[in-house]
């Protein structure tokens, strides 16, 4: 939806007019990320993370395409070809370290983006589809990252692929044929490596497509905001450009400092040393662990240790997938009419327990499957499912929420009738069309 006070695209240059009449692409940009998109004025820094995730997708695609020019997906030379990139390709080490650490930072910003949504109730009507498309993106990212990690064909690549595809083996009867079919053989080998490379190359472009749908769906109701109160008047909003392009630009550079500091000074910190050992089907590593961003889910997978009607392994697999898939139903599980956690005192407490819980799951997921880590992972798994499936429906029914502000502007101005610079006048002083108040 576009708000009636949103600026209209009026090309001034004849060339742009000519272009716009034939292909309204400039208009699309103007209305999506330009002055034509109106945004709540009160967004905090957590709203920067979507742009960061978008940036990281582009960064992964660019570095990935360059890596793919030098990489060879064959069992006996994949490892060598990655080392060839590191040693012999000009700035190849930079491309590979950016790509490997880029995957980690892509997940960091995406996870923060998701928790932002959880706290501020961004998944609620009318943004259910925005949220669900986001979950699709997360699933695609996980598939992409998993297959990418197989490509360097180190020890963790090989054994990770074996363990994860082995999960399908838990399905009764058809499990093992499915695993063999997925891998193109009984164990990961050339066939698996080639198809993983093919899929790893193409899935990011699928992600890009879903991102477009995600943003399209978002721009129907427009962005939510920390109060969760709908936009009502022009005073509630500012145009995306230049207000949020400026803020996002600052956020992006700040983020890049962290990303580049790790990439250039601790490039292997987030990785596992064993992946610098070439894959060896005959030598099982002492501890097989996936990349850190899968640790919470890995912990849930391993928390199920006792058969109960179904095999423990199958329970683990079901729980691991359920842990993500349940997010699809969140808009209907949490029926509280109040979106923002700021006005939901009970919810807020449980939310922070959830954050802690996921951090604990991540911690134990990276540890060997020994006590006491297994018991901790079981406790944390119990809370994870209880939070989403039991606590949220009950809390949202009985919770006493705090009074909401009447409008975004009111929450920002605290009763001041007029602010120093009225809407529409830019800091530079050049007047713009000021909509009637």
């Amino acid at each position: 939806m576009s708000f009636p006070w949103a600026k209209q695209y009026e090309p001034k240059h004849p060339l742009m007019q000519w272009f716009d009449q034939r292909l309204p692409l400039p208009r699309l940009v103007f209305n999506s990320v330009g002055p034509g998109y109106v945004v709540p004025r009160n967004l905090n820094y957590f709203w920067n993370f979507a742009v960061l995730a978008g940036f990281m997708l582009v960064e992964q695609i660019v570095t990935g395409i360059i890596l793919a020019m030098h990489y060879a997906p064959a069992g006996d030379i994949a490892f060598q070809s990655v080392e060839h990139i590191m040693r012999d390709v000009n700035q190849g080490w930079m491309m590979r370290y950016l790509h490997a650490n880029g995957a980690s930072f892509f997940f960091i910003v995406t996870y923060i983006h998701i928790f932002r949504g959880l706290y501020y109730g961004s998944y609620k009507a009318p943004r259910e589809l925005v949220w669900m498309l986001g979950v699709v993106i997360l699933l695609l990212m996980m598939a992409t990252a998993f297959m990418g990690y197989v490509l360097p064909w180190g020890q963790m690549s090989f054994w990770g692929a074996k363990v994860i595809t082995g999960l399908f083996g838990a399905i009764p009867l058809v499990g093992e044929p499915i695993q063999t079919w997925l891998l193109g053989g009984f164990a990961p080998d050339n066939a698996a490596l080639n198809r993983f490379f093919s899929l790893h190359f193409v899935l990011p472009f699928v992600i890009a497509g879903v991102v477009i749908l995600h943003i399209w769906a978002l721009h129907i109701p427009g962005s939510s905001n920390p109060t969760g109160v709908d936009i009502k008047t022009p005073q509630d909003t500012v145009p995306f450009h230049p207000f949020y392009t400026a803020k996002d630009g600052f956020g992006l550079f700040l983020f890049l400092i962290f990303f580049c500091a790790v990439t250039f000074f601790l490039p292997n910190y987030l990785g596992h040393a064993d992946n610098y050992i070439p894959a060896n089907p005959l030598a099982t590593p002492a501890h097989i662990v996936p990349e850190w961003y899968f640790w919470p889910f890995y912990a849930i997978l391993r928390a199920f240790t006792v058969d109960f009607i179904l095999s423990a392994k199958l329970w683990g697999v079901l729980a691991m997938f359920a842990a993500i898939l349940l997010l699809f139903f969140l808009p209907w599980i949490d029926r509280s009419p109040v979106r923002s956690g700021n006005y939901r005192p009970r919810f807020k407490q449980f939310f922070w327990i959830l954050v802690l819980d996921v951090l604990v799951l991540g911690y134990v997921g990276g540890k060997p499957a020994e006590e006491p880590y297994v018991m901790i992972s079981q406790l944390a798994t119990i809370y994870y499912f209880a939070h989403f499936l039991i606590i949220l429906p009950i809390v949202s029914k009985f919770e006493k929420t705090l009074p909401l502000p009447n409008s975004i502007a009111e929450s920002v101005l605290h009763g001041e009738k007029k602010e120093s610079a009225p809407y529409g006048i830019q800091a530079g002083g050049n007047a713009q069309a000021v909509p009637a108040e």
């Binding site: 600052f250 400092i257 800091a427």
Partner: protein, 284 residues
Amino acid sequence: MVRLIAILVGLGFVGVAAWSLLWGAIAYVSEPHEETAEHRFHLYPKKVSFASDGPLGHFDRQQLQRGFQVYKEVCAACHGLNLVAFRNLADLGYTEAEVKAIAAQWQIEVPSINEQTGEPATRKAIPADKFPNPYANEVAARAANNNAMPPDLSLITKARHDGPAYTYSLLTGYRDAATYRNEKGEALPAENRPGQGLYFNPYFPNLNLAMPPPITADGQVTYADGTPATRDQMAKDVSAFLTWTAEPFLENRNRTGWAVLVFLLIATVLSYMSYRNIWAGYKH
């Protein structure tokens, strides 16, 4: 309806996880959990510093040359370096002529064919060659090493946690299993004593490895630059050399990193100012 199903599904997962937890907890309290010998005797790498550490890290070329000498005279008998070419040694400060000479005089020749007959043969290495493997194949390597495989060392300092310190600790960490006591004063249990062809070393994850102590005596090599070749010095130098073989672009990486950070810092300040400027006068 959705909420009802959610609660039921939730109870299901919670219940089964709790069931697992219950059995885990019972096992935990009822079964004695003895610490394994690896737990009690394994040591983390010693604290040791290298010129290449940290964001300001660089290579000490003299040290790399000494480390290369240790590799050449000691380790090369068993370990390959198949990702490094002789020409790369120019990075250590050797001249082109020196590199040529090192390649030509390398004890192991490079596989080749006889120009006349096409029979397999070997020839002298040239700078473009990678360091040749000391063994023709894995079977030969294992046959010569008590069925253990000496790993290629090109990436060893990245393929082990805390690699340079680990390599140094391993090389200086051999102990006599019979007299060794850990910090609690416990002796090594009989079943963890090294078997035939194994050597006790508390820095190795399972405590016994198949590599005989390679650095055994002070003065084992004679350094060209006159540095006294103590065992500690040799272990350190070869670890520094192996840091270079694993990450030859380390200096370039650090330099680039600083340039990138300075650029980003300026960009961050500028973008912050423009952000404040644009929002000046707007409450938010």
